[in-house]
C-alpha cells in the first residue's frame, strides 16, 4: 500500500492534494512525468501528473480535480489510508533548457501539472512569466506556489472575481505583445491548450502542451492513448505526454476523451448513491 501522509482540499473541495509515500518513484521522477494510481482491487488505473516530489522524504504529491467516480473515490481517502497501486514514473520528462523567457500558462488543474515545470524552468535560469486562470476566485489553485516558482505571476478569472477579467489567452497575448518570448508551456483543458497554441503560432513561439488521453497501462502496451501529432499517430503515455502544441489534433483528442462518457456517468451516479447511503 502507498500511504497518504498529507491531504488538502482546494477550490471548494473540488481539487484535492495528496502527498503519498512512494520512495522509489520519488527518487526517479522528473518534471512532466506522471504516475498511474489504483485505489483498490476494483479500481480503475488513473493517470495523474506529479505536482511535486520529495526524494529525501520519499514522497510524491498529486493534485487532482474531482470529475468522476475514480477521482471521487480518491477524494474519500484520508491521511493514513492508501492507494493499492502506484506505478511510475511514466512518460517522458519535460525538456528543460535555458532558452531566455518562458511563459507558463495553466488553466484549472492544469496548474498542478504546470507547477513543477515552471519551477524547473526558473531553476534552469530562464525568466519565467506564469499565467494562471480559473472560472472564478474560489476555483483558483496554487497561487502562492506559482508566484514563488516564477518571476512574474499573472492571475485571471473568467468572471472577473479576481485578478484580470478574462481568459488566460488574453493575458498570453499581452505578454507576447510586450516582450520577446522564447518558449511557451500551456497546460489545462483541451480547448484552452488549443487556443493558446493557435495564438503562440501567430507569434512564432515554440509551445509545449501536456495531453491527457484516456490511458490503461501507461507503458505503450495498449495504444488506447493514441493522439495525432503532426499527422502521425503517437502514444500519449510513452511518446508524451508533452507534445509540440502546434502539431496536435485537439479536436480528435476532445472526441476520444468522450469515448466512455455514458459509462462514466452511470458509474459516478452509482457511487454517489452508494456513498450517500453510507
Amino acid at each position: 500500500m502507498f500511504k497518504i501522509i498529507r491531504r488538502e482540499e482546494m477550490s471548494q473541495g473540488n481539487v484535492i492534494l495528496n502527498e503519498i509515500e512512494a520512495p522509489k518513484i520519488a527518487a526517479k521522477a522528473k518534471p512532466g512525468q506522471f504516475v498511474i494510481l489504483k485505489a483498490n482491487e476494483e479500481g480503475e488505473r488513473i493517470p495523474l501528473t506529479m505536482a511535486d516530489t520529495d526524494p529525501a522524504k520519499g514522497t510524491i504529491t498529486i493534485i487532482y480535480m474531482v470529475v468522476g467516480k475514480s477521482t471521487a473515490l480518491f477524494k474519500s481517502l484520508k491521511v493514513g489510508d492508501g492507494f493499492q497501486d502506484v506505478i511510475g514514473p511514466l512518460g517522458k520528462p519535460t525538456h528543460i533548457e535555458k532558452v531566455g523567457t518562458v511563459v507558463c500558462v495553466g488553466g484549472g488543474t492544469g496548474v498542478a501539472v504546470l507547477y513543477p515545470i515552471t519551477r524547473a524552468m526558473k531553476q534552469a535560469g530562464n525568466r519565467v512569466v506564469a499565467i494562471i486562470g480559473s472560472r472564478s476566485k474560489d476555483l483558483l489553485i496554487m497561487e502562492d506556489m506559482m508566484r514563488a516558482a516564477s518571476d512574474e505571476l499573472i492571475v485571471c478569472t473568467d468572471d472577473g472575481s479576481y485578478g484580470h477579467h478574462g481568459f488566460v489567452t488574453d493575458q498570453l497575448k499581452v505578454v507576447m505583445e510586450r516582450e520577446k518570448v522564447d518558449q511557451a508551456v500551456c497546460i489545462g483543458p483541451v480547448p484552452m491548450m488549443k487556443f493558446c497554441s493557435k495564438l503562440t503560432k501567430e507569434y512564432d513561439v515554440p509551445t509545449l502542451v501536456s495531453l491527457n488521453p484516456i490511458m490503461v497501462d501507461g507503458t505503450g502496451m495498449c495504444g488506447g492513448c493514441r493522439v495525432t501529432v503532426g499527422g502521425q499517430t503517437k502514444f500519449g503515455c510513452v511518446d508524451g505526454p508533452e507534445f509540440d502544441g502546434h502539431q496536435v489534433d485537439y479536436d480528435e483528442l476532445m472526441m476520444r476523451l468522450q469515448a466512455y462518457c455514458e459509462d462514466e456517468k452511470r458509474c459516478y451516479e452509482r457511487f454517489r448513491t452508494l456513498h450517500a447511503a453510507g
Binding site: K24, I25, K28, K38, E42, G43, E44, R45, K69, S70, L73, Q84, D85, V86, I87, G88, P89, L90, V216, D217, T219, G220, M221, C222, G223, G224, R226, T228, T233, V238, E252, M255, R256, Q258, A259, Y260, D263, E264, R266, C267, R270
Partner: protein, 469 residues
C-alpha cells in the same frame, strides 16, 4: 483382440463443456474438466510407446507416457510431480498449448484415429493436485546467497523464477502491471484460463520464497544497471511482446477501434466485464469486427460475444487453412456463433460526426504465390470493395517488441525488429549478467516456448552463478 488393438479401438474421451448457447454469454470456463473416471479411461488408451512420438513433439520434453501411466494407475499425486520435473505450469499448459501441433500431433494413435488427449490429462493432473493435493512443496537446495532479478512475470519469467529458487538462489520478480502472470492474466480470458489458476501458480512460487514486486516498470522505476548496483548477480528479461500493431489505414483513431491488447486488458486484468461493479469500462459493441485470426483474435471475438454482441465477425486476409489460432479455439468460436469473413482485408474505417466508428470498407482477396512464410500470399481483387456495418473493431493483427525497457538499456543488442538478441541455447544477451527469453526474443509465440526458453536460461544462469560468465 489383443490389448493393443482394444486400445486403438477405444474412442477418445470427450472433454465435458458448457453448451455453446449457454457459454457464449458467460465468462465461466468452457471445458469443465475430466472426472477421475474419465481421466483413467483416457489414460488407459495410451500404448506406452517405447519410442514415443508425443515427447518429441513437446518443446520441454515432458515424460508424457510416464505421467499418463501414473494416472491410469490412479496415482494422481505422483502424476503431477512427474510433470513438474519438466513443466512448472501444467494447469496452464494443459489448457492453452496447441497440442494438435505438438504432443498430440505426433501421438501414434493419431495416425489412424484420435490421439490420446494429452492436454486434457495434463490439466486433470494439475487440477486434481490443486483441489485435493497436500500442497507439499518440492525440495529446495540450501541458500547460495546469490540474487537474481527476473523482469516480467509471464510464463517465461515464472519458469526462471521457479527453477532458480529451487536451486537455492534468492529470486525477485519485477512486474510492470499491478498483478503477476503476463499474458496469462491480461490477455487470455477467464473462460479459457481462470485467473484463480494463474494466481495459484504465482502463489506457489511465493511459498517457495520467490519475491514478486508488482508496479515495477523496469527501465522507468528502476534500470538494469541500478538492479546490479542493488546487488543482483544476474538478470533475466522476459518482458514479452507488448506493442500493439495497428492497420495504419484511414480512420483508425475513431472511437470504437481498440487494439486487442487494450480490449483484453480491460476485460481480463481490469475485469471490465463486471462494470459497474468494477470501475473500468469496456465498449459493448452491437456489431463487432475482429481483425486477424490467431488466438488473440479468437479471444477478442469470444469476449465480444460474451459482452452481448448481436454479431461478431472475424475478418482475415488469408484463408481458413492459414488461420494461426489453436484448432480448439476456432471450433469453439464457430460453435458460439462467430462468423468468419475470410480472404477479406479492411481498407478504411467509417465514422460519424461524433467520431464514433460506424463501419468499415473491405476488399476481397485471392491467394497468389507463396510468400516468405511459405503461405500463399493474399492479393486484393480489383473493384471488390464492400462495406461492413460495425460499432466496435478489435485489431488483433499481431504485436511487436515494446521499446520501453530495451531503449533505455545500454549494451543490449537488438535485431532489426527490436527484439533482444539472445543465444538460442543459453539465453545469454550481449550484456554481461543479462539473459532474455520468451516473446521478447522470438516475437509473439506460445506459452510453452516461452517456458522452454526460461528453462534453458535458468540452467545457464545457475552455471554462471556457480562457475562464472
Amino acid at each position: 483382440m489383443t490389448e493393443k488393438e482394444k486400445k486403438k479401438k477405444a474412442a477418445r474421451t470427450p472433454m465435458p463443456e458448457q453448451a455453446p448457447e449457454v457459454r457464449r454469454r458467460n465468462f465461466l470456463e468452457v471445458p469443465t474438466g475430466y472426472t477421475e473416471e474419465m481421466a483413467v479411461a483416457e489414460a488407459q488408451r495410451c500404448l506406452q510407446c517405447k519410442n514415443p512420438g508425443c515427447v518429441k513433439g513437446c518443446p520441454v520434453n515432458v515424460d508424457i507416457p510416464g505421467f499418463i501411466k501414473l494416472i491410469a494407475e490412479r496415482n494422481f499425486t505422483e502424476a503431477i510431480r512427474h510433470i513438474w520435473s519438466t513443466n512448472s505450469l501444467p494447469a496452464v499448459c494443459g489448457r492453452v498449448c496447441p497440442q494438435e501441433n505438438q504432443c498430440e500431433g505426433l501421438c501414434v494413435l493419431g495416425k489412424k484415429g484420435d490421439p490420446v488427449a494429452i492436454g486434457n490429462l495434463e490439466r486433470f493432473a494439475a487440477d486434481w493436485e490443486r483441489e485435493h493435493g497436500t500442497g507439499a512443496l518440492p525440495p529446495k537446495q540450501p541458500s547460495t546467497g546469490k540474487r537474481v532479478a527476473v523482469v516480467g512475470s509471464g510464463p517465461s519469467g515464472l519458469t526462471v523464477a521457479g527453477d532458480l529458487i529451487a536451486k537455492g538462489h534468492d529470486v525477485t520478480v519485477f512486474e510492470a502491471f499491478h498483478k503477476a502472470g503476463g499474458v496469462l492474466v491480461y490477455g487470455i480470458p477467464e473462460f479459457r484460463l481462470p485467473k484463480a489458476i494463474v494466481a495459484n501458480e504465482v502463489n506457489f512460487l511465493e511459498r517457495l520464497g520467490v519475491k514478486v514486486e508488482c508496479n515495477a516498470v523496469v527501465g522507468r522505476t528502476v534500470s538494469l544497471d541500478e538492479l546490479f548496483e542493488e546487488g543482483y548477480d544476474a538478470i533475466y528479461l522476459g518482458v514479452g511482446a507488448g506493442l500493439p500493431r495497428f492497420m495504419n489505414i484511414p480512420g483508425e483513431n475513431l472511437i470504437g477501434i481498440l487494439s486487442a491488447n487494450e480490449y483484453l486488458t480491460r476485460a481480463n486484468l481490469m475485469k471490465a466485464y463486471k462494470f459497474p461493479e468494477v470501475d473500468t469500462p469496456i465498449p459493448h459493441g452491437k456489431n463487432v469486427v475482429v481483425l486477424g485470426a490467431g488466438n488473440v483474435a479468437m479471444d477478442s471475438a469470444r469476449t465480444a460475444m460474451r459482452l452481448g454482441a448481436d454479431s461478431v465477425r472475424i475478418v482475415y486476409r488469408r484463408s481458413r487453412a492459414e488461420m494461426p489460432a489453436r484448432a480448439a479455439e476456432i471450433h469453439h468460436a464457430e460453435e458460439e456463433g462467430i462468423e468468419f469473413f475470410l480472404l477479406t482485408t479492411p481498407t478504411r474505417y467509417l465514422g460519424n460526426e461524433k467520431g464514433r466508428l460506424t463501419g468499415m470498407e473491405c476488399l476481397k482477396m485471392e491467394l497468389g504465390e507463396p510468400d516468405a512464410s511459405g503461405r500463399r500470399r493474399p492479393v486484393p481483387i480489383d473493384g471488390s470493395e464492400f462495406q461492413i456495418e460495425c460499432d466496435l473493431c478489435i485489431v488483433a493483427v499481431g504485436s511487436g517488441a515494446n521499446p520501453l525497457l530495451t531503449s533505455s538499456t545500454e549494451g543490449l543488442k537488438l535485431n532489426k525488429w527490436g527484439y533482444i538478441i539472445a543465444d538460442e541455447e543459453t539465453g545469454k544477451t550481449t550484456k554481461k549478467g543479462v539473459w532474455a527469453g520468451g516473446d521478447i526474443v522470438t516475437g509473439a509465440a506460445t506459452v510453452i516456448l516461452a517456458m522452454g526458453a526460461g528453462r534453458k536460461a535458468a540452467d545457464s544462469i545457475h552455471k554462471y552463478l556457480t562457475f562464472g560468465w
